[in-house]
């Protein structure tokens, strides 16, 4: 979840623009995280030390790790440790932004250390408790009524988005009591002891790409796009109902999905969370009744 959270942080603090983030999300799967960025992330080297090693490498035919060791910045053991992390590094988004020239090593170092120091964020968000904490902080949900409901719903949505759509997105923002307009919108009501309005929307390109990625095939017309996006929402809500049934012994039902175009919503309650994907922005609207 680092990409989604760190991407949001960079946007929020104006390190990068939405367009730069979009390009980096698109390119990140081709990126190999370099030793320098890993060393900064681990706190073993500063950005200026990394720059010095890079300068040195231009003159010497040696590997970065060997140069860093010879300059006394890293130990052999640290190099081995960093190399072993290279394949699974979660800072790939930072490396991509550096590679594309949108951030310098120094900006990256500052942003990363600010991000880690920021009170609302926990460094490790692999477990549910810290993910919930991060979501509450990123979307400022702490003062919401029914905060737990929104967090539970969003945690599941984010996991489903990563699993069925892709991880090339960052959290772009959250609006409370949203007034929102979506060119394409698919909605479904959760009914029962807990009831809520849920929807996914976006412009044509974002909506069609969501549909196409979920279906695993080309989507060329509105009817099929709406069916695919609708099934994704239905899957999300179905799993949510199962989770609620398991944890709270409450049985929930769902209404058939409804697809609409050019919809303006004025909600007195609830939230709209925007996810900035590499292909465009998707809006998730949730309003607990």
């Amino acid at each position: 979840m680092f990409t989604q959270l760190f991407g949001h942080y960079l946007l929020n603090k104006n390190y990068i623009t939405t367009e730069q983030l979009r390009k980096a999300l698109e390119a990140k799967n081709e990126t190999r995280v370099k030793l320098g960025a890993l060393a900064i992330d681990a706190g073993y080297m500063t950005a200026s030390q990394v720059e010095k090693v890079h300068e040195e490498q231009k003159r010497l035919d040696k590997r970065i790790g060997d140069i860093a060791v010879s300059m006394g910045f890293l130990t052999e053991a640290q190099v081995d440790e960093l190399l072993s992390k290279q394949k699974t590094a979660n800072i790939v988004i930072g490396q991509t932004l550096i590679d594309l020239g949108f951030m310098t090593n120094a900006d990256f170092e500052k942003a990363l250390s600010d991000y880690k120091a920021n009170a609302g964020f926990t460094g490790d968000n692999s477990d549910d408790a810290s993910l919930a904490e991060n979501i509450a902080a990123v979307f400022s949900l702490d003062d919401m009524n029914d905060k737990e409901f929104y967090i539970e719903y969003l945690m599941l949505f984010i996991r489903n988005a990563v699993r069925f759509i892709g991880d090339d997105f960052a959290f772009a923002g959250c609006t409370k009591n949203p007034e929102t307009k979506n060119a394409y919108l698919c909605s479904q009501d959760i009914t029962g002891a807990v009831s809520a309005y849920t929807a996914i929307g976006g412009d044509k390109n974002a909506f069609y790409t969501l549909a196409s990625r979920y279906a695993g095939e080309q989507v060329d017309d509105d009817e099929f796009a709406e069916a695919c996006a609708g099934e994704f929402l239905n899957l999300q809500n179905g799993l949510f109902a199962v989770n609620v049934s398991n944890t709270q012994s409450i049985e929930l039902d769902l209404t058939p999905q409804v697809s609409e175009k050019d919809v303006t919503l004025n909600l007195d309650d609830g939230i709209q969370v925007s996810l900035a994907f590499s292909f465009g922005t998707l809006n998730v609207i949730i309003c607990k009744n």
Partner: protein
């Protein structure tokens, strides 16, 4: 009964689910497939086609899958109807079985689940 001889009816309001399910069934060797996109059409199509095996979504417009299943079982108590839903809770499963479902299918539809159902069906 051979798989290739099975007449199937797919009832789901989502064109995506109907398409994916039909693709899996065709790959398995089934050729006769009818479709319905809501609960009312499901009952009509059942009466018109008399399928050997029916796949029925629970959440559908006009009439829910459970209501359609009850009507179908009244019309033909021997009907074999597999109920499908994204909500795989115990209560949904119980409701489906109580209404006379042959099996329960957790969505999203997985190829191996369909093969298991076909396997059980052909052995009956």
């Amino acid at each position: 009964m051979k798989i290739s001889e099975i007449k199937v009816l797919i009832c789901d309001d989502s064109v995506l689910v109907r398409k994916k399910l039909a693709e899996i069934l065709k790959t398995a060797g089934i050729t006769e497939i009818a479709e319905a996109k809501d609960g009312v059409q499901a009952v009509e199509q059942f009466k018109a086609n008399n399928p050997d095996l029916t796949f029925m979504d629970i959440v559908m417009p006009e009439k829910t899958g459970i209501e359609a299943l009850e009507e179908i079982k009244q019309y033909n108590p021997a009907a074999k109807v597999v109920m499908a839903s994204t909500i795989g809770t115990q209560s949904n499963l119980t409701a489906a079985i109580k209404a006379g479902a042959f099996d329960f299918l957790q969505k999203p539809v997985q190829e191996e689940d369909i093969y298991k159902i076909l396997n059980t069906f052909t052995k009956e």
